[in-house]
Structure formats: structure tokens, C-alpha cells
Symmetry: C2
Subunit: 389 residues, 2 copies
């Protein structure tokens, strides 16, 4: 069944053959969805016939947001830790252990319910693709379980056994890395597309460059592709390791040397920025302008998790990117759509060219500019087109 | 008809006789609404019978937000000005003239439709009382019209003919003040509760201390109570004038001297902070901690307007207040509820004691802390209780 979406005041295509500017914008547009993909894009006045018709009343339509970094499989609540941090406690990743305890104790059904609620919350804010990491189980069974549940809601599943060293392995990082790269990886790999590691020598809970290299190498050998938590708390080795190994994305990139920026600009690794984390940990923001000016590909993602950043809102991240990171509204929207797709090495999402997956976000606003112009206002939602169901 | 609201996981009452801490919080609570007011508050296990029943499923319930500063009667769009500002253009209030042009040209019905949409948007985010200013007409007829339309949606209407000097009075501020305090005030007063002035010697478009004093004096003589746009762009005379004249609120308070802080701490004037403006103009934030520590009463409001800040989200302002202004989550929620009520000199809203107006906000979260813990996520909405309709 085909559906004609009409009355699109402004259409962001991210396809330069279909519109103008960085975002491939066209006005007074229409679009036909057929079999779940974009079948036609053009002027509203030229729209072909279709089986069904949705009029969006002059609103802006964008590719659904691609949130390439989240941690949605967990139990527990860390509002009290957040409150303490806002009163001056520093963030070093240590609170992750409390989520690990709660997650291990939760039933499958509780985790499934929480995950479904968060995915619905993301979708209600315009996100149509989400990557989900494990990393709050940190045992063979709990990591495999987290990925099994994540795989029920997305194909973009990431094994993050190397999130932190769990308390029972304190002081025995090498033993824990052996567990992660051995039986845990074997149990997790059937449910995972990606492997990730929190590479952060500045945190007593995370992993140094050598351990990260070991984890990523084992993951690749098991058929997983690579992403890295890199340079969040210090200018460590994570970014350069990610680029050297051809990881799809280096995430955080808060503290970068000139060599890190050069590496990101010359390699194929996307710099994924997570400004909600800096907001919620009261940390300095990464410098997106520096990365863009150097020629790096930049993505924005939420990092939605119960500790360092519990936002699920890509529009909020866009507004922060414009306010705090030197991005233009267009650059921020590109990073939240096409950038996220690049960070997941996906060509079927993040744009609305013919043949793309018909993942549409609609705004209660006339232009994508309103995402930064109207911070905090819930303007975006995923558009359910008849033929998608 | 009475309605029992039950299943309240956490109830913020802002009434220290009903709960604990700054916010008068109680858990596992219930509340009876009768005839549009709060008739009973207590433990869920003690709840009396009522005609109707609403179960909020363990969610947190708060007094609806009181947004004591907005400019919702306007036409036009300034997304392009916002985009230019984010690329380095400074904000000095000059862009207001473009909204004045568009507002004058709009029909009553267009203004009414835009206003209704914005009020609905506020309510969908948990705001149940909103003050609305004129200030984009700047002629006798256009100011009276704006207030007539505002009075259709709220009793908290504010005459702001002294928003900026309109282009046709450029260089003739005295003549414009004579118009504002003469025929414009006479036409506006029947529809207004408050008078306000943009007191800002640092802006070429606004009014100095002497002009502000003239405007406020005339308003008071016409039976209006006072509020002041004070110290937004510089440490000018606005705050001390507001306190001297017993204004209900001095709004913005971005640049304060020690004498300003002392005045606010010792007088009856509320310091209303509008952090969305600093977010959207990339300006330094006001120091709420300094004001609170000195003993001033602090309110938070959106300043929703098409130029300097087009957010309508009180939760966003709460998150900014915690991140940027040194407020605890509890202080920020108090400022967005009880603080706003104080800034409007209202005792019937901003709390949920017995006899209060039954204006309830419900969160898709277990605690008020989530408003800051989950920035950008649309958690809050006004709760429609049967007996309110």
C-alpha cells in the first residue's frame, strides 16, 4: 500500500539532489511511501496518486533522528546521585555499579517493560533508529540477557561488557578483560552487531588503551564491528585507537588533542558527541566547531542512561549543540540524522532520498530551525505512515 | 462533583504542614478535588470516598507550574534572527520591531489562534497559570487589542506599552512615554492587571530609570500593580526601582550589584529569573544561588517570546536553573510553582494545600527530581480532573 504525505511546509531530505543547502531542504513538498520506503519526493503540486493520504498541515518533516548511542537496558534510579552531583560531587563513572546491582536483580519482564517505555519515549520525540548497549550486567549471563532483550527492539545492539570493571573484579582488570573477551563475548555475540569499550585511563573504573585494544580485537575476531567510548574525561588514547582500528564511531570526544582531531578528520571514524552528558555532569562541552572545521564527520546522540545523562531527547541535544558547541541549526540537525546514520554505517536511514527507509519525524513547527529556536518544547514526533504498519 | 486522585507516588504540596522538606513532599498520597479546589490531602490508605476517581499509577504530582512572565500575543517568526545570533550577532532587543510589524498586520483571529496554540502547548507541559504581556502593538489600538485577547485566556494580563520605543518614535522617547502613560494606558487599563516596563539604559531601544519611574507611576495611578523588566543586559537601575516602588517582581536580574541583591533580599519584590533567555541569547546566567543565599524570593519563568527566548517549557527552565544557576532540584521546582505564585501575588495557586485551586501537574516519573534529571524529556502535563471542567 502506498501513502502520499502532503502539506509538508519544509522537507529536510539530507539529499542534495532533492533540495538545497546542507540539509537538502525543499518547501511545499510531498513524498510517497510505498512498502516502507520512500518511493517519490517532489513538489506538492506534482504529487502522484496513492492508496492513502496524510496531510501534515504545513509542518516540517525530517528524517527520523538516528540515536547512535544509548544504554536503555537497566533497572534502578539514580536521581539521588544526580542531585548530589549538582551539589558538587564529581562524575567518574563509579555510580554505574549501583545500576549494575539493580539490573542484575531485575526480572526479564521488568527490563523489557522499562526498555519498551524508553523506546516509546524516544519515538514520541522523533527518534526512529536507536542503538542500545549492554553494560549493566557484567556477568556472562547478564550481558547476554541484556543483548537478547535489546535485540527484541533494535538491530543496532552493542556488547559493552567492558563498560566498567565490576566490584567483584576490583583490582583484577586483566582477569575481567579475559572474561569479557572469552566466555562473555561468546555468549553475547549472537545478539550483538557491535562491540564497545569505555576507554578512559582517567577513571579507576574503566579501561586503558591496551585493555581497550584487547577487547576490540577480540570483538572483531568474533565478527562484531567496533565503536569506542573515547576521550570523555581526559585526552586519552581512545580516539586514536578507534581511528587506527577503523571503528565506526568514537563517542564523547570531549577532550581532544590536535592529533585526535587530525585522526578523526583523516579517518573513517565518526565523532559522536553526547552533549546531554556534559549538561548532566556539569562538564565542559566538546568543541564541535573544531571538528567540523577540520573536516571530521560529526554525529549527535543522547547517551540515554540512568547515570551520566538520562535524557532521551534528540531535540534537546540539537539545542545544546547549537548553544554550546558552535554548531549551526542545520549542522546539528544533520548530525542528529545523517551523522547518526554514518556512525552506525547505515545508508538506509538518516535521509529521505528515494529508496530510503520511510522513517519520518514531523515537527509542530514550520522549520527544522525551531528545534534549536524552541529548546525544551516537545515539537518532534515520529510519524506513523499507514504503509509502515 | 468531587474527584479522588489516588496512586500519587510522590506529592509536592509546597505546604510544610502536609509534607517534608522545602517542597512539603509526601509519598503514597491521595488528594480530593471538589468544586475546582483541593478539599483533602493525605495518605492513600486514608482516602475518603468521592464521586469520581483518577489513579495516576505511582507518578509524581506537583502544583501546576506558574509561568509569571510571557509574551504570547504576537505574529511572525524570528527563527532566522535566532540563527544569525547563534552565528555571533549580539542581542540588544532591536529585533522586537520585526515582531511589532507582523503583530500590527495580523487579524484578531490570527493572534487569537496563535495565542490559543501557545497556551495549549504550555498546559501540555504542566503549566496551569500564565501571565501574558502586551508589548508588540505599541499603538493605542494595538496594545488594547493585545490585552483584550490576552484577557480571554488569563486574568494575569500585563500592559507593556513600554517594551521598546517603536520605530516611528525613534529619538523621541519622551513623546512615546507621554503616549504610553496617556491614551495608551487609558485604553489598555480595562484589560490589564499589571503594568511593566523594559528598564534597560544599555539598550538603545528600551527605557532608562527616569522613564521607567514615570511609566510605573502612571500605571499605579490607573490602578495597575507593578512588575519590571530589570537588569537584563546591564546592572542598571531597574531592580532598585522595582523594590523601591514595591513591584511584585523584578524580572531577568541577570546583572546584579551587591546593592541590588540586598534590595531584593530586604524588600517584598520577587526576583524572577528567565534562564531560557540566557540559553537562547548565549548570555551569562543570573546567579540564583547568590539571591537565595541572601534571602531573596526567587521565581522561574519562561519569558516565552519569539525573539530572545521561544521556549514554553517550565521543565526546561528548571533543568537550566539546576545546571547553570546553582539551584537544587527542589529549589528550582519551588521557584517554578510557589515562586511564580509569589511573583503574581497569588495565594490560590503554586501549592496544594486545602483550599488551593486544584491545578495539578503530573509527571511521567516517580519524583520531581526527574524534571532536572531528565532534561528535555516531556515528562510533565497538566492533569485534567473531572471536577475542573
Amino acid at each position: 500500500m502506498s501513502t502520499l504525505v502532503t502539506g509538508i511546509g519544509e522537507l529536510v531530505t539530507n539529499d542534495l539532489s532533492l533540495g538545497s543547502g546542507l540539509l537538502g531542504v525543499r518547501t511545499d513538498a510531498a513524498l510517497v511511501v510505498d512498502g516502507g520506503t520512500v518511493a517519490w519526493v517532489g513538489d506538492g503540486s506534482d504529487a502522484p496518486a496513492a492508496d492513502d493520504r496524510v496531510d501534515v498541515g504545513g509542518r516540517a518533516v525530517l528524517p527520523g533522528f538516528v540515536d547512535s548511542h544509548s544504554h536503555l537496558v537497566f533497572a534502578g534510579d539514580r536521581a539521588a546521585e544526580f542531585e548530589a552531583r549538582m551539589s558538587g560531587e564529581p562524575y567518574d563513572g563509579g555510580g554505574i555499579a549501583s545500576t549494575v546491582r539493580a539490573t542484575r536483580a531485575a526480572s526479564d519482564d521488568e527490563l523489557r517493560l522499562r526498555l519498551a517505555r524508553l523506546v516509546a519515549e524516544l519515538r514520541a520525540q522523533g527518534t526512529t533508529t536507536v542503538e542500545v548497549k549492554s553494560g549493566y550486567g557484567l556477568t556472562v549471563d547478564d550481558e547476554a540477557r541484556a543483548l537478547r532483550l535489546a535485540a527484541e527492539v533494535t538491530g543496532e545492539t552493542t556488547f559493552l561488557g567492558a563498560h566498567v570493571v565490576p566490584p567483584e573484579y576490583a583490582g583484577r582488570t586483566d582477569d575481567y578483560v579475559a572474561l569479557v573477551t572469552g566466555p562473555m563475548l561468546a555468549a553475547a555475540a549472537p545478539f550483538a552487531r557491535w562491540i564497545d569499550v569505555f576507554c578512559e585511563p582517567a577513571s579507576p573504573h574503566a579501561f586503558d588503551g591496551a585493555a581497550a585494544r584487547t577487547v576490540l580485537g577480540a570483538g572483531r575476531a568474533a565478527g562484531l564491528d567496533l565503536r569506542v567510548h573515547a576521550n570523555q574525561l581526559s585526552a586519552g588514547p581512545g580516539v586514536r585507537l578507534a581511528v587506527e582500528l577503523g571503528a565506526a564511531s568514537a563517542d564523547h570526544c570531549t577532550h581532544l588533542t590536535d592529533a585526535d582531531v587530525d585522526a578523526l578528520a583523516s579517518g573513517s571514524t565518526v565523532a559522536t558527541l553526547l552533549p546531554g552528558v556534559e549538561f548532566s555532569t556539569r562538564s565542559p562541552y566538546p568543541d564541535a566547531r573544531r571538528l567540523l572545521d577540520a573536516g571530521a564527520t560529526v554525529a549527535l546522540a543522547t547517551d540515554c542512561n540512568p547515570g551520566s545523562c538520562f535524557t532521551s531527547s534528540m531535540p534537546f541535544c540539537i539545542a545544546l549543540a547549537v548553544r554550546e558547541m558552535g554548531m549551526t541549526p542545520a549542522e546539528a540537525v544533520a548530525a542528529a540524522t545523517a551523522g547518526g546514520a554514518a556512525a552506525l554505517r547505515r545508508t538506509d536511514v538518516g535521509h529521505l532520498g528515494v529508496g530510503a527507509r520511510a522513517d519520518l519525524a514531523v515537527l509542530d513547527a514550520p522549520s527544522y530551525r525551531h528545534l534549536a529556536y524552541r529548546p525544551g518544547v516537545p515539537l518532534a514526533r515520529a510519524l506513523d505512515v499507514g504503509s509502515l504498519t
